[in-house]
Amino acid sequence: MDADRIALRLAGAAGPRTVPIDRRDFLRLTALAGGGLVIAWHAPFAAAAEGAAPGKPLPDPNPFVRINADNTVDILVNRLDFGQGALTALPMLLAEELDVDWSQVRAGLAPAADVYKDPFFGIQMTGGSNAINHSWLQYRQIGAVARAMLVAAAAEQWKVPVSSCTTGAGMVHSGARKASYAALAEAAARQPVPEKVALKSRAQFKIIGKGKGRLDAAAGATGGKKYGIDTRLPGMTVALLQRAPTFGGQVASFDATRALAIKGVRDIFQVPTDRGGTGVAIVAEGYWPAKQAREALQVTWKAGVGGTVSTDSLLASYREAARSPAVIARDHDMSAAAGAVRHVGGEYSFPYLAHAPMEPLNATFELKSGAATVMAGSQFQTIDQAAVAQTLGLKPEQVRLITLPAGGGFGRRAVPTSDYLREGAGIAKAWYERQGDKAGPVKVMWSREDDIRGGYYRPAHLHTVDAALDEKGKVLAWDHVIVGQSLVKGTPFEGFLVKDGVDGTMTEGVAENIYGLPMRLRITHPDVPVPVLWWRSVGNTHTAFVMETMADEVARAAGADPVAWRLDRYAAGKHERHSAALNLAVKKSGYGRPLPKGHAWGVAVHESFGSVVAYVVDVSVEDGRPRVHQATAGVHANLVVNPLAAEAQVQGAAIFGFAMTQPGFEITLKDGVVQQSQFTDFTPPRMTESFPVAVHFVPSEDPPTGLGEPGVPAIAPAVANALAVLTGKRLRKLPLELTA
């Protein structure tokens, strides 16, 4: 078995089952040997990828759905699943319109191919909490088209009008006649793709809106779920890369004598690394010998572009830059500030943060003459495929990219530069060149230390806010400055996301000015040689903290209840979804009722990626840390496709965002060297710091908005607002420094 035959595990139905997904099977339009394949996976029509665009032909169901001889249904998901639940939610959409029973459904992740591109983004990717939003119409249409073709086949066979046919649980009925989808599928595949299909009304939904467990839950609970890191191929080796201690650093010289003597070590050689650096790759028969060899390796380094960065002095330089910001992102006349009787606000600072997904980065490469296969938990298939191709001197279509489930990502697998895949491909290329016929597939792995030190951090940012208030606490002028690295400057995304020198991903959450403030927003994007990247909820991780703690401060300065203050502003701005979410959280939490001594309520609300999340929290201080006793979330995400998974996303996002407040949750650099390296010194919350989150959704029938990220931004400011009540002090530096 080689990589061409690597299996995709489809989860669900009669338990996990392995089905080959050789992409050439799709392209050949063949039934699988042994029969049963009826609507085959095959090459799509070019236009089919435009499924959700109005006025375009309907999507061909073939690359997405397959009906098996046992009447189970395999559905391919055009996204990465790294915990957010697309593997289950998108099949729910398709199965609803196909009109099969949920127990018939299995699902798998699609490989890189044009047909699986996001209908709106035009590349195959997962991000911006858009999987359901962007495929809401697409996956339902695919199901409806497949159903229509099955019904047409039945009507033709039975010589009855299509209108006499009904469907349910994977069967077509007409009068006394009935046939399974499996029996009809071969004939259905010969039917023309209809030009129009009707979709179900909300009242007709049997699957959408009902809580469904993850289709891979059983495999996951028994150790059977295969992630990228679990890839094993005959003759496969494992590679580790020794990178320079500073970003872009280069090898001056290395001595591999001791390392090569370790049993199981196959080869050691110099390779290019990210940001113009070089490093030393170790290829061995397993991770353990590779790791030992890496420790035995003697390397001397030349400092790279990042050799001078220290976060302490960086903060000082940001503070300086905040006094003369470069670009006006949003303008307003500040002269009314002259009439202020008081000012609130100050300087906010945010550290670099690592994503630290539980599954360390990895990718497996198998090279052949003029072709390559890469297996990875890729979040940007189109970009990663092209990057690997470029590194290997191939065309993108010569690289098969197989998407494997990932153990978390939080942004780290969505890299515009494809850093880890380019490095990995470079190692694979050198390995095959050096070893010729003796080379074989190579799995390039990262250790946890590589991950924490490896850059691509949530950028450190500094905000300053000066809110000038009149005697009643009304805001006369809001002067807001942001200093921090752009996420997308110098990447292929720059053209889309940077407008007039402003990186919109860094102003999102402020620039919308949801409270209708007299706001001036200025921004500077310094160039700092530390690689940065979006971190679950992107710019909102900074901006929500600033805006929502400031909102609280301004409300209190006006002598108003922070909930009432917000609701007034939402009403004035007609932000009905904000009001609904906050009202729901307030009502369900019992906000305002007396709490035990030493506890306080905190509230924050934030919209991101089209969804509004309001948190009400009950907080005390324990051992110098905030302790959340209960969080209540009011969420407006329109129609919720899978309430069970949606609840989990908000619960998990609350813990993820809470991490920002915790001592030890920051990345610092000294003379270009990252000071943290492990879960011992970069410390995400554990069970002991976790808290219950009661999640309530505002009922809605509008098309769903995202939920992978929107639960993150508002939790930290909600906690900080409670702490301000408890301590009488406003903490504006993250992580929070409380003294017990």
Partner: protein, 152 residues
């Protein structure tokens, strides 16, 4: 060559005696259910049982467990408690990315093997060594309480 007792079977492992159990399982034996998260016993993803005790396999050399009973996520469901924990995990839809959950299930099973009515404080103590970046702690706690009930 080292002989280990894994999930009730004696298996021969061709690896240096200092090789951690984690890498013997994953790279030598192809048992990939046990996960690599940190390599320094700081995250719990690699948790297995050694004679019923939750143990971080990433820092346990194979030479240290010769003649002892090793249970992994692939075998823990053969026991009544492990099976109940796995069932509770599925019923509560605990996993998000799921990568840490093998270790979580092994730690939870270890807890319930020795304490059939764990309090929240007991759960905190037993599970604090297992990180989850998706933040599934609330459902983990609920699933452990539920598994305890089903075993009563």
């Amino acid at each position: 060559m080292t002989t280990l007792n894994i999930n009730g079977e004696l298996v021969r492992v061709d690896a240096e005696p200092s090789t951690p159990v984690l890498w013997a399982l994953r790279d030598v034996l192809g048992m990939t259910g046990t996960k690599f998260g940190c390599g320094v016993a700081a995250c719990g993803a690699c948790t297995v049982h050694v004679n019923g005790q939750p143990t971080r396999s990433c820092v346990t050399p194979i030479s240290a467990v010769v003649g002892q009973k090793i249970t992994t996520i692939e075998g823990v469901g053969n026991g009544r408690v492990g099976k109940a924990v796995q069932a509770a995990w599925i019923a509560h839809d605990v996993a998000q990315c799921g990568y840490c959950q093998s270790g979580q299930i092994m730690s939870a099973t270890g807890l319930l093997e020795s304490n059939r009515k764990p309090t929240d404080a007991d759960i905190d103590a037993a599970m604090a060594g297992n990180l989850c970046r998706c933040g599934t702690y609330q459902r983990i706690r609920a699933a452990i309480h539920d598994a305890a009930k089903s075993l009563a």
